[in-house]
Symmetry: C2
Subunit: 428 residues, 2 copies
């Protein structure tokens, strides 16, 4: 528990000393905005508009179908996958960028269930965390219903006890979307393997946010998102990683032509491609994939400046600073901190709780140009969350300082209690 505050001047000095501060110049962070929602939608890399415009005007407009070869469209899912691989501890040709996270989870969970069924037909439990991201649970629920499995949901701290011999697959999101709490991938994978279970990891809030070592952890399957910390643009294609030992033991029903060994021979029977290519299904949205590809080229600039370890160090400093300022400056306002204080256990966000007004406070901050987001609790186990993503690529220490200052002003002045902030806008 911190008791000492930190001044704006000290934060300015931290930014001056930040060896990664040049990276922010690669992004188009809107003037005057303190954008702490890069864990929902990452900002625009400056290189993206020209690259997408060229894909539209030249590759599509002028070169048309030729671009499947000449512009590399055919290979793009695998080439983009190779760039993502460098951020998550995967090897070349182990990752493919395609479809959405939900659909990719369907592919890998299907495959994991099939492998488990072949090796351990008696295991019929998919184990996950109750506060896992809902779409992961929906996909698992449907696959369980379809295949006679049971989806067992427990709290994070009950996982170890629930990991029994009947578990076929442990399916977890590495960094929790609500709290920012991070599992120890190595330890959880070892615990799963210890009872003969396979692991499926969702890296939506990990890829580009924290160092991930899939092969080093001996994980089995992973999926992740292209439009959060990777800055691929709204709805950018997601990705799939499969441990090389499982890749060719494939069975999943999304067996479209792009996963075929020879898609352009148009044979009537399905022969899966060798390797990760078989986790493709249909044609990918090339314009969106081009934006993701560009974003990764920008992201990988970090490799010249210390890579993911350097980014992690800055991320921890940012989240640490945020929590320290909240503890000291906002002690009168009854916020809880849902994010673990332990550095080993947190991702790159800070989540606050408050028994009253979480939604209105987030709205008041947005009006002041401090963009975080609100995630509703369930009124029982889960509290309402004020969520602040601290993307280390482009967030400054002064941004954190000003964000907490605004939060303090919103609270001290009771600004958040103005009626206009409490009306929830319908999302659709």
């Amino acid at each position: 528990m911190h008791t000492q505050s930190i001044t704006l001047a000290e934060c300015l000095a931290l930014d001056q000393a930040d060896s990664l501060r040049s990276l922010r110049d690669l992004y188009q962070v809107p003037e005057g905005l303190i954008y702490l929602d890069g864990n929902s939608l990452g900002v625009l890399p400056k290189a993206t508009p020209a690259r997408v415009a060229a894909a539209v005007a030249q590759e599509w407009g002028q070169d048309l179908i030729k671009s499947w070869n000449s512009a590399g469209w055919f290979q793009m899912p695998l080439l983009v996958g190779n760039k993502i691989a460098r951020l998550i501890g995967a090897e070349e040709d182990e990752v493919v960028a395609a479809d959405s996270t939900s659909i990719n989870l369907f592919k890998v969970l299907s495959a994991a269930m099939s492998i488990s069924e072949a090796d351990h037909p008696e295991k019929k439990i998919i184990l996950s965390e109750r506060t896992n991201f809902p779409t992961d649970l929906y996909i698992a629920e449907a696959l369980c219903k379809e295949r006679g499995f049971t989806l067992k949901l427990v709290e994070a701290d009950e996982l170890e006890i629930a990991l029994q011999e009947d578990v076929a697959v442990l399916m977890l999101t590495h960094v929790n979307y609500r709290t920012g709490a991070m599992f120890n991938m190595l330890a959880m994978t070892a615990a799963a393997h210890n009872v003969g279970a396979l692991t499926v990891w969702d890296l939506a809030h990990s890829a580009g946010a924290v160092p991930v070592d899939l092969n080093g952890s001996e994980a089995d399957f992973a999926v992740g998102c292209g439009y959060k910390y990777l800055n691929g643009g709204p709805g950018a294609p997601a990705f799939v990683w499969v441990n090389a030992m499982h890749t060719n033991r494939f069975w999943q029903p999304l067996s479209g032509w792009w996963g075929h060994s020879a898609p352009f021979e148009f044979t009537s029977d399905y022969q899966p491609a060798t390797g990760i290519a078989r986790y493709q299904c249909g044609t990918q949205p090339i314009l969106s994939l081009t934006a993701l590809d560009t974003a990764l080229d920008t992201f990988l600039e970090v490799e010249k400046l210390g890579g993911m370890p350097a980014l992690r160090k800055k991320s921890l400093a940012l989240t640490g600073l945020f929590m320290r300022l909240v503890q000291v400056e906002l002690s009168a306002h009854e916020f809880g901190i849902a994010t673990p204080l332990d550095e080993e256990m947190r991702g790159s966000q800070v989540s606050l709780t408050r028994s009253e007004g979480a939604y209105a406070i987030v709205q008041a901050l947005i009006e002041r140009g401090v963009v975080g987001d609100f995630r509703a609790g369930d009124g029982k186990f889960q509290a309402d969350i004020l969520r602040f993503g601290l993307t280390p690529m482009y967030t400054r220490f002064v941004d954190v300082w000003h964000a907490v200052r605004h939060l303090k002003e919103v609270m001290d002045s009771n600004e958040w209690q103005q009626p206009r902030f409490s009306h929830k806008k319908a999302v659709t």
Copy 2:
């Protein structure tokens, strides 16, 4: 069988008299190219670059997550679906644009199988055409294996005999990708219903190419492609239509959060949305979807000029002209015409066959700026195909005339036998 040719001057006159000729000005057809591959990748609408650039720079770059509401990103799959609906005989809120054709086929075939299983558990056959597009067969093959069904493939003219009481689902591509032969949707659907089977139609080569009346045909399910005749750009999202009588009898395992009744309440159990929204799964690639949306706005300009019936009339005139010129001008060169001469039975392409040289001839034409494509036969039932898509939105009668003139020159001069045309380039 035509015996009389037609002159370039007569084709120029046809273009002059064409009430749809202004539509070509809405598209960026590359200078000097005769592009007859719009059935693979449609050309760039002139409105698209600015619209995509604004989505990148303003909606994403400046407005960030706010754009989910302010730029209508949330509703875009349904709004784009409503535009497609006008071209395929569907009502508002019956179509959603999302994912790829392969994935959408998985959704609707899954749902059709589940409905059939509920109503007629004894039916265990999916019936389709042997030369259906392979990815459709791959998806069906996998679902059959998963659920204990059998995929039965027959030739098109054997379908009527094969349609027996044991058939659960008749799955057909409306216009065959190889030959351009078109099924009578009304008659085939009636024949399927007559034996208690449901119909799943793939409109990949129909939407925007020929009039389609899904509701008038009392069809059950349909999917289709955004990047062929609709000009949505490379890998543009595909679409799904479901007959309103089936929509809420949904069961398919791709039950991601976007198909949930309240995706942003983040409940841990899946409650499907009412209506076609439930056929969504994950977040869509907004940049690619924006390009498709723009393309549809351009496409729907045809409604001011007579709509799909007028487009159909021009399409038949173009394909008719192409075939007539081939019959008369190329009679010495032993081409077969795989596309039905009967107007009722053909889509918007002309497919030629030749016992020798199909690949090389297509390459020689491409070198001359006449872009069609080659589709390999299987060496047994199917011949090699030279495929020419005659997109009525932007193809002129003079383009057809010059295309056949080039083909004649390629054949008369034996140009196609030059070695450089016969080496197949690897697609990947």
